[in-house]
Symmetry: C3
Subunit: 266 residues, 3 copies
Amino acid sequence: MNEAADVRAKCPLVHCITNYVTVNDVANAILAIGASPIMSDEARDVEDIVSISQALVINIGTLNERTVESMLLAGRKANSLGVPVILDPVGAGASRYRCEVTDRLLREVRFTVIRGNLSEMSYIAGLGGGTKGVDSSLTEKDRDPAAVAAAVSSSFSAVAAITGRVDTVCYGSRVARISSGCAEMGSITGTGCMLSGVIGAFVGASDDAFRAAAAAIAAMGASGEAAFAAAGARGNGSFHMALIDALSHVDDGFIAEHGKLVYAEA
Amino acid sequence: MNEAADVRAKCPLVHCITNYVTVNDVANAILAIGASPIMSDEARDVEDIVSISQALVINIGTLNERTVESMLLAGRKANSLGVPVILDPVGAGASRYRCEVTDRLLREVRFTVIRGNLSEMSYIAGLGGGTKGVDSSLTEKDRDPAAVAAAVSSSFSAVAAITGRVDTVCYGSRVARISSGCAEMGSITGTGCMLSGVIGAFVGASDDAFRAAAAAIAAMGASGEAAFAAAGARGNGSFHMALIDALSHVDDGFIAEHGKLVYAEA
Amino acid sequence: MNEAADVRAKCPLVHCITNYVTVNDVANAILAIGASPIMSDEARDVEDIVSISQALVINIGTLNERTVESMLLAGRKANSLGVPVILDPVGAGASRYRCEVTDRLLREVRFTVIRGNLSEMSYIAGLGGGTKGVDSSLTEKDRDPAAVAAAVSSSFSAVAAITGRVDTVCYGSRVARISSGCAEMGSITGTGCMLSGVIGAFVGASDDAFRAAAAAIAAMGASGEAAFAAAGARGNGSFHMALIDALSHVDDGFIAEHGKLVYAEA
């Protein structure tokens, strides 16, 4: 296991078309993990930028008609160049427009990794979503994450990652479960968006997107747990800062020891 | 007094159309107080999003023609559904466009709460504004906040809140004064925007918008004071973090003890 | 040397048209140094806003067609009023669109200060850029920063500042070198953007843009070094917070003692 070392050694450039709520944290998370972020969402700019990048992360958190066109342009260009593309379908299922855009992105761009919460991924799996805004309204009591991830992976030939109490990563018959992390990570905005950025960094430095995504999720979960233990009692602001601190210390030993990552067959 | 407990119990979804400068802090403030933020400003998205929300916060800090249309669509939809709407007229009076947009919003949307500094609220009251950018250029020596708040409340049948050295909340004959908070809160960007988001959370969890707005302002003032006492000497970065920490610990006992909130008749 | 004191005494209003990745940090850096930020990028708003401002900072980090028009409008208006304009050509050289926009801005707006990394400034000097996204791909082994800065200063009659391991500021025959700062500042996003905002604050409070820019760069370098010493070992999140803390304590004595600023003839 050397996924984290590869990120720090190769320092992949990660092109993000992402929401303006958490974009600063996404950039800082990518830097903390040892990669290099670049944000660009102008249609006339994105094809050039993705051409010099090792991964593209598309996050629809604050989508608009202008940036959706840029997502499509960048995604198709990435596909033509073999640059891996990560989708974070924030709020898919919560509004008709988010559903339409998610559908269109999935039709017109091939994604290497699709990561969302159980509601978002259930929408993508065609099982009906139902979200409370950008938070999942479903739990594993409502629906089996492993089945949803398998359906998404199969439909889109992508690594499918569902994050929640336990995280599930599926790619064909390969499955990983990650049980690090803590519920309090939902009390600071952007942990999901940061994770998608970090997945971009890991996938951009690897030739095994499944293992890279699993390692990235384990890295974020372990960082969140460490940060909460260190600073959670002081409050959300300190926890937020400690999470970036923890990400900047991630290495493969830390992931192996604290990531709570288990590989299994489906 | 159980306004804060209601926020944590009901966890209202607060739809924000807000500026990109402070949007991350607004989201984190809403989360810290126990509610759930969702940011969406695309015209094709906002009506669906506001339909699942318990409050809408409109902040014109970095308005543009596209998002102004979204503010109007979301505001009218909120009105039709009975979802309370909060206006933060950032910089009203500082430019012709901000004045025009403020006027149009006030003509086409009914606001439950209007919160601004003395310059912005003076503009809305028709008394002439005069702002230094986004900071008030007026003090209570220039103009009586209670009279300005009463004028705004009367003109727009809304709860009017003017924040400054002492904060004034007015709704018809009901008046509240809040003297918690400290001047140093102006040295970190977004304390006003965060407050408007927190007001959205409190109003979204209450059926008395006047009391909810007053409690939210008291919560923010007491949090700012506590944060400055804890971390202000270390500098603005630490103070900023401590403010989010303090918000995440707010409860009704804290507001009662430190909010310095007094109700009075007008 | 009283540049920092002038900022705190005059509290210039700094109008920023800047990227949404680091905009919050830019605003907080400007506040920490004692000035007042205002962000506005709507074409119908920017001319009014720049008219009440003491400096305009244009940063193309997340440029788009709408905001480029606003940059041009604001820049021309600033020129007509004598308001100093600072350019941060983020990623110039990295894409055709960023090159085109940089060229157009330099044709249509007179800049008081142009600040970038060695790649960006090499592009502007007509020497060919080559950037790795938003980071410089060139070092002083590839190209002499003093020669590049002199070329930019001469071509555009502007103060030219190149930041890197050692920073070079050039205005005609006047040259300053600043060796404070540390490489780790590149591991948190936005230190360059924050610096451009801080330069806006110093230039807006001074009638000597060369000395103001040099002092601002020395202030940021010394703050970065102090912050890394205080908190770098804890991680990137703590370092980021400590940088804002340090900026909020900057005064001229601190710059003189820790800024490592040397004036020289070209």
